[in-house]
Symmetry: C2
Amino acid sequence: VRGAPKTGEGVKLGIGDDAAVLAPPRGELLVATVDAVVEGVHFDRRFTPAEIGWKALAVNLSDLAAMGARPLWALCALAAPRSTPPARLAAIGAGLARCARRHQIALVGGNVSAARDLSLTVTVLGSARADELLTRAGARRGDAILVSGTLGDAALGRRPGARAALARRQRQPIPRLELGRAIAPYASAAIDISDGLLLDLGRLCDASGVGATIRLESLPLSAAIRRAAPPRMCTGAALSGGEDYELCFTVAPRVLPAVLRAARLARCPVTDIGRIDAGKGVEVVQGGRPFRPGRAGHDHFD
Amino acid sequence: VRGAPKTGEGVKLGIGDDAAVLAPPRGELLVATVDAVVEGVHFDRRFTPAEIGWKALAVNLSDLAAMGARPLWALCALAAPRSTPPARLAAIGAGLARCARRHQIALVGGNVSAARDLSLTVTVLGSARADELLTRAGARRGDAILVSGTLGDAALGRRPGARAALARRQRQPIPRLELGRAIAPYASAAIDISDGLLLDLGRLCDASGVGATIRLESLPLSAAIRRAAPPRMCTGAALSGGEDYELCFTVAPRVLPAVLRAARLARCPVTDIGRIDAGKGVEVVQGGRPFRPGRAGHDHFD
């Protein structure tokens, strides 16, 4: 992957030996995640090669954002048909490199293999202070539920002929790293909602042993999505469309002002969409009355 | 992956959140590598599901062995056709789990995705003391060149109708972890020879800025390979067959006795096959006269 930083903080030995040698920041914990993007599943022919490379790294960074962690290093395994033009591989690498540069991540490991489907499997390693780690467990009754950015754009961006603004949300997700670190000292729990708000907030509730009620009218919808689809389709996409790579997190009422200030400093809009309660699972209300959503979420294996 | 240890040394938060949280051993460096096994490239229909899972982890452990590192944690991304029977996936997981248990590795991250080819991409993280790390650079003129085990078995084990003893060498490689750690204080350089002795020793020489001469008659050949093929084919497989997952390492003459003792304690046979010299690249001699090998190595992308 030409153009990606090969060295950086803590890189003692980068790509080129049997393994990379890394010095984790003293006094911090290591945070590690793996995610793959596969042709025909996570991207299609409308993606430019650079968008494929960007997305492969960005989806992992979104997971680190949800932990309140700082990404440091990435390892990338590429599988591609033998017939793939070298220029296409280079362009994919350039997209990944751009995302790595933007977030000051060193690419410390790589692997190339033949396969019928083009895919990139990226592992990202980062670090966080033990007392500032965010997990899915920790939400408590009465906590406010917040989400970053706007929801549903990526799902509608997948549709044929989608407007560029929406398509970009699916093809070039921006991991919410600054926000994740900014809220880490305050939030009680967090998750990245790549599989859709309902499904992922449900996971957060299960991990925390609580329930949640969210207000349909509070869901943040972009101007682009409102123009592109009728309200019912917008809220459906916001609840269950998936691939938004925004953060959903919970905050005790007394620290809510501090969180809103931290989010403002991180230049990331956040919206209060509901409350954690003593129930089980996620309930959606509209104008105070129960609302029955359709499909729960977006599963990349189905 | 049922049956794989989900927790272990330093695992603060395992599978089930957005990312794993790990505590690296104090005062040691982190060692990280990624490798993939893909259907039709690294394994075929003759592999049992358990052998696929085992190999996916073992090939990564071999890289850590070559660094003198101790593996701690693994993250595994599985891609599989939607039609894959759940029992087959479970059996693959069981094979990976067996390898993980044997080497006391915790599986701390996972990902499942649809794809046309079955593949497993595994990242292994381990640790090593800074003063005992092995790299490819460091071989010096006059150093002895040693290899572990026997060579060529895996390459001949790939042939249709290969004997079980040879086929097993390809399907269930045993990473030389104990040996790697035992020689780490003494060896000047090391590499895992998964792509074949000539190609990988050539990489070690390039990284070290030296040349090498190896003696054809010193190559360790198993009784099984000698029975299975004529001498010329055996030495060809030993030089360039690939997939042996043995270690090739270099040792200054004065510490050779200490290395041989360490290898004996690690219960791993090692063989002196040549010398590092001031040249460039790898020369093979037979009875003191130049020998011209055929194909240089085994490239998984070709």
